[in-house]
Amino acid sequence: MSRDTAALDPSRQFHHWWNNERFRGILYQVLLLAAVVGVGWFLVSNTLTNLNARHIATGFVFLDHEAGFGISEHLIDYVPSDSYLRAFAVGLINTVEIAVLGIVLTTLLGIVMGVLRLSSNWLVARLAAAYVEAMRNVPVLLLLLFCYSGITVSLPLARNAYSLFDCIYLSNRGLKLPAPVWDASTQAVTAALVAALVLATLVSAFARRQLDRTGRSLPVARITLGLVLGLPLAVFLAGGAHLSFDVPHLAGFNFAGGVTVSPEFAALLLGLVAYTGAFVAEIVRSGILAVSYGQTEAALALGLTRMQVLRLVVLPQSLRVIIPPLTSQYLNLIKNSPLAVAIGFPDLVSVANTAINQTGQAVEGVTIIMTIYLGLSLLISVLMNWYNRRVALRGGR
């Protein structure tokens, strides 16, 4: 019956070529491509014209020039007479430092808060819920400013610093800690520690193989602990048991020597972790709820404690649900880190900003920032996807 109507329908018998689906598909693609190329060409030529008019040379040659500005925090040596390239490297390292520490701490905080939200203790669950709601409803910039002013206002001046054993100081200039002096002895101990970690990794790989083949398990934890503590200690003792520390001391209005955890660094880390941790807590909570309660009951009936049930049965299963949204929270943390500019922490964007202001090389500066952020994001995505596949593959369901 429907075939008859189709045969009678005049529009079905006569095909206009512009009604052809494939033709339309190709046409749209050609139009879109033309639009993209056109806009791109306009942007590039416009930029080049403007740069020419202001006598700004394009290209990355400026990276070799002397930066000429100081950076308050640097994990590698840096002085204003160093190149822009080195300044960018300092900023990148600061950004990576925040990202790595931030991701680790956010994960821990998120898991704890997510679990506490599900606690059967009414008060604990309410407090965790209040934390999550508070963080989710505050702009992250405000939170950073709050942390920063909180730290700088509540802590005393350097000369009134809280001190512990006269070698650790806490003041509004940050937390000052003694640092080991990088001499032959510390170098040897560090080398021994690295060697111990490598050995421990090999041992645990061997132990896993041994377990699979013979069913005999080695005391991996004890061997690892022995190696990691014993080897550096042995080297330390063999080297005459001397380590020298650079102890911070008051000099003028600030401290000299030692290492510093600055208020800017602390505020940025604290703010980002507190903020992102709330979102991770929600992800963890929904991940736990996604595991059927029968799993918990079966594990409890076997005699496992609540803690063991969570660690051995529930969390490993909720990882499959947790990891994909967790990845985007990690990326959010990294993408929020340039708010460091607001509190004066010299992250990559803040350094690039200064460089752009001094040189006018905005296009190059922004290109560098975008490339690095893209690289960091891709790196995290790749790592998390790899981990996700490892977790998801097990069980073949």
Binding site: G215, A298, L300, A301, L302, G303, T305, Q317, R394, G395
Partner: protein, 248 residues
């Protein structure tokens, strides 16, 4: 009633879910080695009763004692009871992220602090007993329902419980798999395991049970040997239930 050799003893146990009275004055003693089958219509409180025994549910009044330990708010007491009592669920509840072998060794290693190698040996022995040792390294999702339920039984047995609770262990299974699970349970009964089993398998009840408990509306209506209870039910409610079961 000889109360002294009872390994499970419930006295005047009451339980409410909110305002709903789920268990009403339940009293029941189970001797060592006794096989008890619990039957009754849906919603009569069978699951609730046996889940109170290992504290998966909390009762509000009355006392429950298992091997001399009172089931209470005391965490240590509950842990002890759970180590003595194995449980098998309708939905198997195997851990899908662990292999069959890891499912079996998890509790012995973490609860009893048994060396891994020893736990594996014991696990393999129980897997052989439920005739499923070739599947030791598979994941639960790769097994049939009947195989999963036998793994679940083996998982409980690995903790060497003195009492086993079963909550409709065959209700989620296809007919052809029911027998393989019942066979394992019959063997367990023949070895003298104390068992409390909620089931609608009347054949199993007839051949294996020492005692059948019939429940309705949160109460124990009748308790007797299977021959008496099935052949000569005293209560009207029991007759009605049995006639329904037989008609089906």
């Amino acid at each position: 009633m000889p109360n002294d050799d009872a390994v499970i003893s419930l006295k005047d146990v009451n339980k409410w879910y909110g305002s709903f009275h789920a268990l009403r004055d339940i009293s029941l003693d189970v001797r060592k080695g006794e096989r008890v089958v619990v039957a009754g219509p849906s919603g009569s409180g069978k699951s609730t009763m046996i889940r109170c025994i290992n504290r998966l549910e909390e009762h509000q009044s009355g006392t429950i004692t298992v091997n001399g330990t009172e089931v209470s708010n005391d965490v240590k007491a509950v842990e002890k009871v759970r180590r003595d009592v194995g449980m098998v669920f309708q939905q198997f509840n195997l851990f899908p992220h662990l292999t069959v072998l890891e499912n079996l060794t998890l509790a012995p290693v973490w609860v009893k602090h048994m060396p891994k190698a020893e736990a594996r040996d014991i696990a393999m022995r129980y897997l052989e007993r439920v005739r499923i040792h070739e599947q030791a390294n598979k994941y639960p999702g790769q097994l049939s329902g009947g195989q999963q339920q036998r793994v679940a039984i083996a998982r409980s047995l690995c903790m060497r419980p003195s009492i086993m609770l079963f909550d409709e262990p065959t209700s989620a299974l296809d007919p052809e798999m029911i027998k393989e699970v019942l066979d394992v349970m019959v063997e367990l009964a023949e070895e003298g395991m104390t068992m409390v089993c909620v089931t609608h398998e009347m054949g199993f009840a007839r051949t294996v049970a020492d005692t059948v408990v019939f429940m309705a509306d949160g109460q124990i209506v009748e308790k007797n040997t299977p021959a008496e209870l099935f052949g000569n039910p005293r209560e009207e409610r029991t007759k009605q239930f049995l006639s329904q079961i037989i008609r089906h």
